[in-house]
């Protein structure tokens, strides 16, 4: 049962009025008789309805009222009655009747038409006499005369006595009565309402706690109105992080705690850094227009890297001093200067190996945007983020690489089952793919890794092994949050962002 104490004073006042006036009253009557303002009543009724204390039934009803012409008839009686009375003893001329029965021209015309049609009078030689049925009619009661005085104010059909209702169509036709329809709102108590009604009483309770009440201690000795604390409340449009970016932030924190230092590189790169330094031969399919966005062919400036470019040319052609046979093709330095949109964040890793502040041993990571000329659909985007990490150190081996991947999958990905699968990348050897087992999805490849080839590290003057790995973090995010459409991650749907829920604090 509803606690009566949670009722607002207005609600109580309305309920008390209903108690006094009786259930089944209309809203209009309540407004008239309760002494409350219309807006207060409306608000209170709305609240009470929501709480399930009362219900309001709406009904469309007909009502009737006299017209101006009708008002005169209500006073003097029906014109045809007056007409018949005037000639009841002897036939009279038109004007005489009009005068004797006090009929104006309209009334006279209407009455004569009606009486003739009903065969109650007859006209001969300019005089009108009453017929025998006319005389009989005069002896019968005139319901119209009883009804008309009742209709000075609007009267609902139900309020008109049964025997008189039949006269309404005739009066309406004669233009003596007008009709309209109106909605009647009737208040009924629900079972719940009936139960609590006896308990409702008005007492002085504190509603809003105001500074005045606090400062002047007005609350002492009084009670507070109880609120309906389980009532629905309006939403707050909070400011929050974009869901995927929050996930990325979590990844970064994890990497920092594992001792990784963040690195960054430009979105617009030269093929030299994106491809050549990574020992990708210049006719490699991944370097073609279907796999890489070009800004300009051969527009970049490599003056600063002249000696390195010479070295890389040799590395590709015959392996230079790396112990490799090289790719054995004529290297084209112009292609190194192609300006492209970076196609993988490994370009950032390899550039880090070139930088002056590189520390050995060292651990580095980047999470950043890469581009591929793919048509956008549910499983392809033309730009997305990659995570790339490297660890340099004399004692780094393939086992440590597997160790990093395992740690990452388990600690960051929260995955329990993993598998290492041999992979192929032009810039690493040995190469490995990380496959993880996801409930309901089976084995999923989430990243690639390997030890940078000597053809990559030696020309840069790096003589220690560099283990490198890249993860598709978008896939990890989607798997964790059961998102099937990649486009959702870069969502333009404000509603989705506002309503996104985090299942737990571990992202």
């Amino acid at each position: 049962m509803i606690d009566v104490d949670i009722l607002h004073d207005l609600e109580k006042k309305v309920l008390l009025a209903i108690k006094e006036l009786g259930e089944g009253i209309t809203v209009n009557i309540l407004k008239e008789k309760s002494g409350l303002s219309e807006s207060d009543i409306n608000r209170a009724l709305e609240w009470l309805k929501e709480k399930g204390i009362l219900k309001i039934e709406e009904d469309i009803k007909e009502r009737f009222k006299l017209t101006e012409v009708g008002e005169k008839c209500a006073e003097k009686g029906m014109p045809e009655k007056r007409f018949l009375n005037a000639i009841k003893d002897k036939p009279l001329g038109f004007q005489e009747i009009q005068k004797k029965a006090d009929l104006d021209k309209n009334e006279f015309n209407a009455a004569i038409g009606f009486l003739k049609k009903e065969d109650l009078i007859q006209i001969s030689e300019g005089k009108i006499s009453i017929t025998s049925s006319g005389k009989k009619r005069l002896e019968n009661p005139w319901r119209e005369d009883d009804l008309l005085p009742m209709l000075k104010d609007w009267l609902y059909l139900a309020e008109i006595p049964l025997g008189l209702r039949e006269a309404l169509p005739f009066l309406e036709e004669r233009g003596l009565v007008e009709q309209d329809e109106t909605t009647i709102k009737t208040i009924y108590l629900t079972d719940e309402g009936k139960k609590i009604l006896p308990k409702v009483k008005l007492e002085e309770k504190i509603d809003l706690l105001t500074p005045k009440i606090i400062v002047e201690k007005l609350w002492k000795g009084k009670t507070f109105r109880k609120y309906n604390i389980s009532a629905p409340s309006p939403p707050i449009f909070l400011g929050k992080k974009q869901p995927y970016l929050k996930f990325v932030e979590g990844l970064k924190q994890k990497l920092i705690s594992l001792g990784f230092q963040e690195m960054k590189g430009p979105l617009v790169e030269l093929a030299f850094f994106n491809n050549d330094l990574l020992f990708m031969p210049q006719d490699h399919p991944a370097r073609e227009i279907h796999d890489i966005y070009f800004i300009k062919r051969a527009g970049g400036d490599l003056k600063k890297y002249k000696s390195l470019l010479d070295k890389i040319e040799k590395v590709h052609e015959d392996g230079w001093e790396t112990g490799s046979k090289g790719w054995r093709y004529p290297f084209d330095k112009r292609k190194s200067k192609d300006i492209i949109l970076r196609s993988h964040t490994t370009a950032v890793s390899v550039k880090k190996l070139l930088s002056k502040d590189l520390k050995i041993p060292g651990k580095y990571f980047t999470i950043d945007r890469v581009y591929r000329p793919d048509v956008i659909d549910w499983k392809h985007l033309t730009e997305f983020d990659q995570l790339d990490g490297i660890i340099l150190g004399d004692e780094m081996t393939f086992r440590e690489l597997l160790g990093v991947l395992k740690m990452f999958a388990m600690e960051v990905g929260g995955v329990k089952k993993i598998k290492f699968v041999p992979g192929y990348f032009p810039f690493t050897e040995p190469s490995v793919e990380l496959h993880v087992y996801m409930k309901g999805k089976g084995w999923i490849e989430i990243g690639g890794a390997g030890i940078f080839r000597p053809e990559v590290t030696l020309p840069l003057g790096i003589e220690v092994p560099v283990i490198a790995w890249g993860l598709g973090i978008l896939r990890l995010f989607m798997t964790k949050h059961n998102i099937n459409d990649m486009r959702q991650v870069f969502s333009t749907d404000l509603k989705w962002i506002r309503e996104f829920r985090w299942k737990n604090a571990n992202n």
């Binding site: 300009k296 054995r328 086992r399 041999p422």
Partner: protein
Amino acid sequence: MPTIEVSLKDLKKLSGLKFSTEKIKESLLMYLKADVEKIERDKMSIKLEDTNRPDLWCVEGLARALRKIFGKSVKKYSIKPSGITVHVDKNLKNIRPYVACAVVKNMKITEDILKSIIQYQEKLGENYGRKRAKVALGVYDFDKIKGKKIRYIGVKPDEKFTPLGFKEEMTLTEILKKHPKGIEYAKLLKGRKLYPVFIDESKQILSMPPITNSETTGKVTKRTKNLFVEATGTDFETVLHTLNIFVMSLAERGGKVFSVRLKYNYVGECGFERSPKFKSSIFQIKPSYINKTLGLGLTLPEMRKLLTKMDYKVTRADSINDLIVVEVPFYRKDIMHAVDIVEDIAIAYDYNNIEPLEPRIATKGGLLDETKKQDLIREIMIGMQFQEILSFTLTSKEILFDKMNTKGKSIEVINPISSNYSNLRNAILPLVIKFLEINKTVEFPQRVFEIGPIVLPDPKAYNNVNQENHLCAAVTHSKATFTEIKSALDTLMKQLDKEIKIKHTKHPSFIEGRCGEIIFNKKSIGIIGEIHPQVLENFNLENPVVVFEINVDAL
């Protein structure tokens, strides 16, 4: 990376393995980087991840490798001379200079084998041959070739022959225009005055590489017993290798291999070469290097066993000199460095038998200062009830300029997949406004922000661009005012302890008199204002929008 279709039954029969389908799948993945993507009854769709191992792009190659790995005997190939000579005309030197050929006899060709041969030929030309530019293969009915002297020569475009699949003779020019392969690969011969063809002693044209064969001599059917095979291309080593591995797959099917003499005047000793060549190469590798790279303590006998499994022949294993000498099989062109052999040892050992080790390098982790600054700004914006959003950095000129009522320069990609993603954004604002358009039916008020990179042209930079990190914030609802966005900017700057000034400016995206430049350290670092109704109309917006965008790197 290529995807091939093979018959599971065929693979099981050729490999002699009585494994379950699951075990076959696992073995292909774990030893040969061959990812089975789909199995439909007998048909297996396999993606070959290793673009450097074209020897594995056919069922014969996969089966051979599996036999070796699981200790079964493998075929030994022998080559006998065929007596055929191919003369290479010097007029091809600058067109498609290299050729290698072979004769393979005693083939028993079934429908399935024919399909498999054609698939392998296609994949080699398409992927390894870089869409036939670098190398393409041709296969002929050897018995229909007349004489022992075949000429590879450049001829005039009005020469004629009947191309594969056609009934009448066509000129070479017509073939490039009408034949499906001619249309597909015409660009490879574009601008040439002479087109390469093979001609036999009876002067009939056998084919026009790399386009199509002759319908009369160059068609292989189930009735064909003996094959003539040629590879042509732009690099001799690649041409020869492609021929070698293709011929190897035919030998795996029981074909007997015969070599062909190649008479060049610009390749080889005295202009003579011979193909195919199944010659292994010698590689030296230090056992200590193997163990140091993998982090394992393998003994020499263990290494020998693993190497043998991967089809290397160990000719010397010497712990005193820390040396292993191996013969690398002829079909392994991918072995460029000792480290490639190390990977094979690891694969033979099985990656999942290697115990992962957590790196014991102690380093201090940390974020870049720019990330820390951006995170701080994000936190403040969120505190002011702004919702973070994320847009693409690629967009259209229409959104960047036309709809914003502005003109300007942005970085444009040469090869966009769609004009919607053809330009790098030079500001975030247009994308934020676009976001509001997409969400115009979502509840108001809307307060959003984005922080991220923008790219501007800069001819002086090595990569021709200047990249900055910008913050853009926008507020829209029926009563949004300039003051509201200014409060946000001022509060942000106060929190960051930066003093800025706002200077009136004109900007075609904004209402005049309600738009200002944001000045910091006497430099303009951004813009603030109320968006012009014309721009709102361009984006179908019906509520006022107030915004600011600043270069956060400048703060």
